[in-house]
């Protein structure tokens, strides 16, 4: 099995990382691109992008293969990372190409989409 991350242009946020099903991927500011801190009910709203055992990671169009990785999930298994950031989807994005979680403050911190460069899209205050 292969888990592929692709870059896609999404309305209102521009070109960002998405899953193979075109679900926008997010990073969680408190993770500090180091470790997964979303746990408990946070995981219900922001499911991490898992890397099943025996699967491989693939970089789709526009994605830098060298920035792809995985971290152990405290709940078990491994979570896909990009530039060190654990990646999550958002249950509020019910269709592909939505980014309704961008800049949302929920479950203890802020959530951002992430560019193919590996930089989260943090709005200027």
């Amino acid at each position: 099995m292969t888990v592929t991350i692709t870059a896609r242009s999404v309305p209102r946020v521009g070109t960002v990382l998405v899953t193979s099903q075109d679900l926008v991927l997010y990073v969680f500011a408190p993770d500090h691109h180091r470790a997964i801190t979303c746990k408990g009910t946070c995981l219900g709203t922001w499911p991490p992008l898992m890397l099943p055992s025996g699967s491989r990671l693939a970089a789709g169009t526009g994605v830098k293969r060298g920035l792809l990785g995985s971290d152990p999930d405290p709940s078990g298994g491994r979570v896909v990372t990009y530039a060190g950031w654990p990646l999550y989807t958002y249950t509020g994005d019910v269709d592909p190409g939505q980014a309704t979680g961008q800049n949302l403050n929920l479950n203890g911190g802020l959530w951002y989409v992430i560019r193919p460069s590996g930089v989260p899209l943090i709005p200027r205050s």
């Binding site: 679900l23 408990g40 219900g44 989807t89 249950t91 949302l104």
Partner: protein
């Protein structure tokens, strides 16, 4: 619209994996532990009471009265921390995915997810505006009241549908032993995230806002009906 392989089902796997691999052996069922659907419904009671607080604030603004920033902030914070940051995570992680997997209520679940997302945007707006300076700016009370009204109008039917259709369907598809285990897990999660007695604490917070707004006394809502029911 709901993606079968998308975030929701992926979330079910992640959330369920966390539940199954919590690292602790299953404890004997505690008779004091509430079934998960009952637990969610009593949390809806907290939501209902905040909706009533919003309604009172809306009424005052529409009558030309002031909007109290602290009351608005405290009410919206309960929604943010307890309803959106906890209750909805339980639904999204443990209830909705199981229903979708069972081929039940997929369209309803999609709508509920969209409404959760929309509600969070409204709450963020309310929290941002709930400052002394925020409510004093021209037009702000009316905008904040409109946002609260939209929130109320969405969440009243939302929670009613969950209580009467979604949760009963969930209870139907889950084996009794899983219901028991899940109820215990919900209690553990609440303890982990908020400490002990959180439900009582949040009810206390809502009651305090109701007292500030003058709507805590339940009896005041009993109507006088003799003017239109002469025999009453």
């Amino acid at each position: 619209m709901l993606l079968s392989g998308g975030g929701l089902v992926a979330g079910a796997a992640a959330a369920s994996a966390g539940w199954a691999l919590s690292g602790q052996p299953a404890a004997p069922p505690d008779p004091a532990v509430i079934p998960p659907d009952d637990d969610l419904m009593r949390e809806h009671g907290v939501l209902k009471r905040v909706l009533l607080c919003y309604r009172e604030m809306i009424t005052r603004v529409q009558a030309g009265g002031p909007l109290d920033a602290q009351d608005l902030h405290d009410a919206a914070l309960i929604i943010h921390d307890y309803i959106e940051g906890f209750h909805e995570g339980l639904e999204e992680g443990y209830v909705f995915p199981r229903l979708v997997e069972a081929g039940r209520l997929a369209s309803t679940v999609t709508t509920l997810l969209v409404q959760h997302a929309r509600g969070r945007v409204i709450t963020q707006f309310l929290l941002a505006g709930a400052t002394a300076k925020g409510v004093a700016s021209p037009g702000a009370p009316a905008r904040l009241a409109a946002a609260m009204q939209a929130f109320d109008r969405m969440y009243e039917p939302h929670e009613a549908r969950e209580d009467t259709v979604v949760f009963p369907a969930f209870r139907q598809i889950l084996p009794a032993t899983e219901l028991t285990d899940l109820g215990q897990y919900f209690a553990e999660l609440q303890h982990q995230e908020f400490g002990t007695n959180e439900f009582a604490a949040v009810v206390g917070r809502v009651a305090s806002i109701e007292q500030n707004l003058g709507i805590y006394n339940l009896a005041q809502f009993t109507p006088q009906v003799s003017q239109y029911i002469p025999s009453a």
